[in-house]
Amino acid sequence: MWLFALPALLINVCIILIPALLTLTMAFFAWDGVGPPLWAGLANFQHMFGDPVFWSALTNNFIWTAIFLTVPVSIALLMAAALLMSPRSRAVVQPIIFLPRILAVAVSGRIFQGMIFSPATGLVAWLNEHGFSIADPLADPDRSLYAVAAVDIWHWWGFLAVVFLAAMRQISIDQIEAARLDGAGFFALLRYVLVPGIRPTLTLMLILTVIYSFQVFEFIFIVTQGGPAYGSEVLATLAYRHAFFESDVGQAAAAASIMSLFGLCATAVYLWLQIRDSANAT
């Protein structure tokens, strides 16, 4: 039987496992990307742990994770529950909320940068012209991370809502109607029936959110390039900077290894939950 899995396994080994192991190996070398790599031991990690930009990037990854585990998930749960209750609006609302997901990241990023936040051409400019004194949040190192997160939330929450709705539709209608007959309102229904009913899907999406949050790159690189003053720097943009601006692949690999470590932890938690649920089921 294992022969059936062989093609997929081979592809995974070639394009995931080997590059991942090579990246991990490069974290212990000094390499400029073109010359011969030189053994560096733990120097790349020592240098990285002594760099304040690494710690602020790591902190930004945690902030990003916290935002994405709460804000888009909450909005998506509310929207999914609302759509479940009003089936007639689904056909119109679902495509609308899903639309940002199918837009290219570069397009979404530029829309927000140029048409919303820009003090020259965006909504911010229009508000300033009409008496509201609003600064571009992307230009403020204390707010730029949140501003980019807003762009990514806009891009992400509709997808979550559609996934949650699909899961909620698997819940027995008897359960929902029984709760309603017992007098459960919208939020009680959500709290006691819908959320527990989609727990496996919710858990999976939360785990994936943690993994994605430590890999986040495109939106930040397109919209702020990690700035200003490293205000929105995350591990992926830091690794990119090391690899391609500073020609220091060893440092980049060290940062990438830390990113993977958090993804690995999230995956381990997911596997543990799956094993526990399987054990409980039997």
Binding site: G33, G35, S118, A120, A135, L138, A139, P141, G227
Partner: protein, 447 residues
């Protein structure tokens, strides 16, 4: 006929072996040997110029080679490195300047050009200050594609309306900047929302025009620390000007083009920007009635008393080690040194391909209908020939030092890092890169 399992199994190692065998040059349909060339960024005008003035003109000029050019965009340095290591790069290797070339040459990924240089007399023809940036370990590895410099672009109508004279020193700059702010005019149009490199354009001006080019050269030679007083003064002045609002309130929000257009429209008075700006048609600087004028940037400290241009090579051209058609690539280089290419390319895409070649004097550009560009190129040609120049960060700073200098200056401007700590870190990173031989060769500041 369907293949049997045995045939499929046998074909895999055969295909692998075939892929690993040495390749000959690719042959075009018309039987010519193909020369491949990856170009970095080019706007629509640039792409048309590349197609007409380079590719079509070269292919029509001879019948041995066929040039195939691909525009790869801003990520070319990343793509190129990976391709070179994998042995699948183009024949003509264009890097973003000597700092990028040094690593590639050191790794032996490009061919020494000395043989071709002797054959085509390149060493005699190029300006030594620029050609030397392509020398590594005594061998010539690249030709400079162009020369560039930071300049002071200003709106002469705004100056005239306000009775301002062109500033000649720091005090006069600050006087005009304060007067501009009082009138609601942005003193210097500047914005880095689309390109962080704008930070280093400004720092090139501050390091050279405040600390002085001799001190910069000494620091790049490892004879003076970056923490020395002249560099402290330079970084402090950049911070003071940023915090006074001389670069406007929206430096981090505006793109470079938007900020330059502020100068053209009169919302801003002047800009420190590069000579590549001549290639952007929307600025209208080629029009006879343009409101813009341009001069070298005056000194900003008692140490720098006269206007200064900054030696920059925006791109280098080499031949890949794995190229199967080095002769063809050299033939393309030789074509680029022709008078017709120089005139046509500079007419259609000004500022991008100003070849620093002695027998292509700037007066060849007379008649292309772009007086501001012509006078600027003439000034650069004269200054670079005489050794009167400063050193741009993107040409002479090694990669990691340059990256930190560019990124972390924002922390200084925003009061998140002290000038001392900023320069101390620059010194630490630079010392390591200096020890590793990553500083590109420095031309002498003499004729």
């Amino acid at each position: 006929m369907p293949w049997s399992r045995r045939q499929v199994v046998a074909a895999i190692p055969a295909a692998t072996l075939a892929a690993a065998l040495p390749r000959g040059p690719a042959i075009a349909q018309d039987g010519r040997k193909v020369v491949t060339f990856w170009f970095a960024q080019a706007n629509a005008d640039g792409q048309a110029a590349l197609r007409n003035d380079l590719v079509d003109a070269f292919n029509a000029s001879q019948d041995k080679y066929r040039l195939q050019l691909e525009v790869k965009g801003a990520a070319i340095n990343n793509v190129l490195k990976v391709a070179l290591v994998a042995g699948s790069g183009p024949d003509i290797v264009q890097t973003s300047g000597p700092a990028y070339l040094t690593a590639i040459a050191k790794a032996g990924q490009v061919l020494p050009l000395d043989e071709f240089a002797g054959k085509f007399k390149w060493k005699e023809r190029f300006l030594p200050a620029l050609l030397n940036t392509g020398v590594y370990d005594g061998k010539l590895y690249a030709l400079p594609r162009d020369y560039e410099s930071m300049h002071l672009f200003y709106n002469k109508e705004v100056f005239k309306q306000n009775g301002w004279k062109l500033p000649t020193n720091r005090a006069e700059f600050e006087q005009i900047a304060d007067a501009a702010l009082a009138k609601g005019i942005i003193p210097f149009g500047a914005g880095n929302a689309d390109w962080k490199g704008v930070n280093e354009w400004l720092m090139t001006v501050f390091f050279n025009n405040v600390a002085g080019p001799d001190n910069v050269r000494q620091a790049l030679s490892g004879d003076m620390p970056w923490t020395a007083a002249p560099f402290v003064e330079a970084a402090e002045l950049s911070k003071a000007w940023y915090r006074k609002g001389y670069f406007g309130k929206n430096y981090f929000s505006l793109t470079n083009e938007q900020s330059f257009l502020q100068v053209v429209s009169g919302k801003a008075a002047m800009a420190f920007n590069g000579t590549w700006s001549f290639g952007t048609k929307s600025y209208g600087m080629s029009q006879p009635d343009t409101v813009m004028d341009v001069v070298p940037i005056p000194g900003l400290s008692p140490a720098v008393t006269s206007p200064l241009v900054h030696l920059a090579c925006g791109a280098t051209l080499s031949i890949a080690k794995t190229s199967q058609n080095a002769e063809g690539a050299a033939a393309v280089f030789e074509f680029m040194l022709s008078r017709s290419f120089y005139q046509n390319m500079n007419r259609d895409w000004p500022g991008k391909w100003a070849l620093p070649v002695k027998d292509l004097p700037p007066d060849l550009l007379q008649g292309i209908g772009y007086p501001l560009f012509e006078k600027t190129i003439a000034g650069l040609h004269a200054a670079f020939s005489k050794g009167q120049f400063g050193f741009t960060t993107w040409t002479f700073w090694p990669n990691a030092t340059n990256s930190y200098m560019t990124e972390a200056i924002e922390q200084v401007w925003l009061n998140r890092l002290s000038t001392e700590d900023y320069l101390k870190h620059i010194q630490t990173v630079f010392s390591q890169e200096f020890r590793e031989g990553k500083v590109p060769p420095l031309p002498p500041r003499t004729a």
